[in-house]
Amino acid sequence: MATTDRVPVTVLTGFLGSGKTTLLNRILSENHGKRIAVIENEFGEVGVDHQLVIGAEEEIFETNNGCICCTVRGDLLRILGQLLKRRDRFDYVMIETTGMADPGPVAQTFFLDDDLKQQFMLDAIVTVVDALHFEKHLDEMNEPGEQVAFADVILLNKTDLVPADALERIERRVRAINATAKIFRTQNANLPVEKVLNVGAFDLDRALAVDAAFLEPQYPFEWAGVYQLEAGDYVLRTGAESSAQHAHEHHVHGPGCGHDHPGHDGHDPGGETHHDHGDHAHDAHADPGHDHSGHDHDHDHGDGLGLAVLPATAASSDALAQQVEPAVRAFAEEARKVGCEGSLEPGPGLNRIDVAHDGTHFTLKVARAGAYAIFCEHAPAEFNLRLEGRKPAAERAFASHHHDEEIGSIGLSDPRPLDPAKLNDWFSYLLQSRGADIFRMKGVINLRGEARRYVFHGVHMMFDGRLERPWGEAARRNTLVFIGRNLDRQELEAGLESCVAPAP
């Protein structure tokens, strides 16, 4: 099967009013010479000459006894099937989903239907986020988080309507949900068309690129800075004095690794086509559906911001690094509450400062001159927290998944070679037990005794993986990213650990 002549498909999601249609119209009207067929699930606003716009009613089919991970979009099956009956094929297909759509079935449609898999190639899921309303929607509904979680490209749109500090916070929440998508800040959904088309996010040939910080060990804090301080009182201030707004492209992370469906539609990772060629048999009505049990999840979101101020040996990044371990211990301790305009001192414990009121301040009492490292639970920018009149001599951001979102990303990185059979077992178990909660997964695996990288990609229980180019001189390492609901880092780490091949 030639993969190159498959028609790329972009799935466009986002709430009503997010700017989805604006983006679509922009893409259609731009002079790129491509023939684009648009499948719209919300009628009306799109209409550009020379482009085919097809109205469709979103319809979800179950393909496998009611399993929610095996749902596909029936309307797409029919419409795309008809589009194949043309000689002058389209260069591109864009699917605009309704505001409340779950992108899962759309993506799965391209894994599950043999005809579509051979003719179309899912290129990327693009989600437009209305910066002004995103947080409210995220707190009230499931769909905005899911749409962000599924995305390969996210437009943080309407940035002109949101103050800079709020935008930082919103982007952090988006990033906390989806650690691997490319995020672009836009106004009027304005960005170059090539950022959205031919992204190749589902192409297994393209390398998995993940922000290195995301794969670092996780810390209970997101930022640290080291200061040289004289003895005396210092003011820690929050709020106001907003910084200049960033405008353009932001946080460019590489595309996720993708896939090319080699005739695979089972739930069984590891490569072989998995069809149930059972004997034709008559069956009484089986109970349709298997259940995917949910997991409970609690949020430990204390009130206030965790802060540790630790003496350091010098105001340098090396000295700051030395304090990371003590800081982890400090963050494990019971916090001392510091109210508005209260004071705190350097020392081994954890403080929790009350940042509920915008524009408050605290006093840091330094008894002895020296270098001090401040570890902050969230990035100070989120609260515009600063030590008045001082700049850190060195600072560092830490990967933290101490976040509030029910939906999030977990990245694992480990250099040890894995055992193929054990990996297969783990993936099978994971897809079956957690497939409903894992929206996207992708990774590169270092298999023992294998010169080539094993790359994989999944949407819910749909899985595609194969051996790709050789490691060559590159350092061999497993990199796995999971995006989903209520993911359990310890469970995933233990799963990966169980796959480590014994030393030969």
Partner: protein, 345 residues
């Protein structure tokens, strides 16, 4: 065993279009053709000639989706990606009427067996039209988008295959009473058995489902490697043929029925079957697949195909003439061939 019948190619034509659908005229002398680029054609079989005379009736914007020839009449109905239904005179070639029943594609058209009513399906919308194009009845929206429609042999019932249910409408105004046979999967086809006992549907989830019309009792047949999008009954209602990857699977409805039995599996194609049709009133079955092969079968009597022909490109549509004497085969690359079934000995 001696082959009892063969398919003899009689005439052909090449259209510059993908054949998406075909419909024979009631007398078997003409064929209406739906083209993937939007054209609607009529082909006429000139006697003593190996070629078909093809003329274009008109156009449906970006693509023609379906075509249906009125039984006992001359009206050709077509629908396309311009969201329209057109009614043509298939003999004179004039356009009689153009309807726009919905802001969506009308994907399916089916004339009642007596040719007095035309059923159309657009998304969830099912409508009945007179031959003149007047709306006779608009049904309440169906529970899901309609994947197929079909009439029973007497024309009393019209069924719509949807996601989650087979919906059967009794065509008796003013009530148009409705029965729903629910099943949590997506019905792909509608096949009433000619004897009126059973309605069957192929399923998206790789199974075949059927309901006994007298009792609404149903059964599910599993084990298919993928979507079952083709079902066809033998004229005597004994066999129900269905596609199962490269094989044709035939269930035997004689005696106590197919439950608990092994079906007849017909092997010979080397790639997926895309077209399947039993001979009207006869015992033969034609299949065509992605292996560019047309095969003739005699289910229950011969395990191997009794005749086969290679096509010029992938077959896209196979239709028997109403009298069961001819088979028209349309291809993706536009070739149209009419075969005649020739009985031997």
């Amino acid at each position: 065993m001696k082959t009892p019948a063969l398919l003899e190619p009689r005439a052909s034509a090449t259209l510059d279009d993908y054949v998406t659908d075909l419909a024979w005229s009631a007398d078997g002398t003409r064929l209406a053709i739906a083209g993937g680029e939007g054209q609607v054609f009529v082909a006429t079989q000139a006697s003593a000639s190996k070629s078909l005379a093809v003329s274009a009736l008109g156009h449906h914007g970006m693509g023609t989706l379906a075509v249906a020839w009125q039984p006992r009449g001359t009206i050709v109905a077509s629908s396309g990606q311009d969201n329209a239904i057109a009614l043509w005179d298939g003999v004179t070639g004039t356009e009689r009427r153009r309807l726009r029943p919905a802001m969506a594609w009308t994907e399916h058209l089916a004339w009642s067996p007596d040719g007095t009513q035309l059923a159309s399906a657009s998304g969830k919308k099912l409508s009945l039209w007179s031959p003149e194009g007047e709306l006779v009845h608009g049904f309440d929206p169906q529970p899901g988008a309609i994947a197929a429609i079909g009439w029973d042999k007497p024309g009393r019932d019209l069924a719509a295959a949807t996601n989650g249910a087979m919906v059967i409408h009794r065509i008796e105004p003013p009530q148009y009473a409705t029965r729903q046979y629910k099943w949590p999967a997506s019905c792909q086809t509608v096949s009433f058995s000619p004897n009126g006992r059973v309605i069957a549907s192929g399923m998206q989830d790789g199974s075949l489902h059927f309901w006994y019309l007298s009792s609404a009792k149903d059964s599910q047949m599993r084990g298919y490697p993928g979507k079952v999008h083709l079902t066809s009954w033998s004229g005597d209602s004994r066999w129900l043929a269905s596609n199962a990857g490269n094989e044709v699977v035939c269930w035997d409805f004689s005696g106590k029925g197919p439950e608990g039995t092994k079906p007849v599996q017909l092997s010979g194609h080397t790639d997926r079957i895309e077209c399947l049709a039993f001979q009207p009133g006869g015992p033969y079955l034609v299949s065509a697949g992605r292996d560019w092969r047309l095969a003739l079968w005699w289910p229950g009597k011969a395990k191997q195909s009794i005749d086969a022909h290679l096509t010029d490109s992938e077959p896209s549509c196979v239709r028997w003439s109403p009298d069961g004497r001819h088979v028209a085969v349309g291809e993706r690359k536009g070739k149209l061939t009419v075969f005649e079934i020739v009985k031997l000995g």
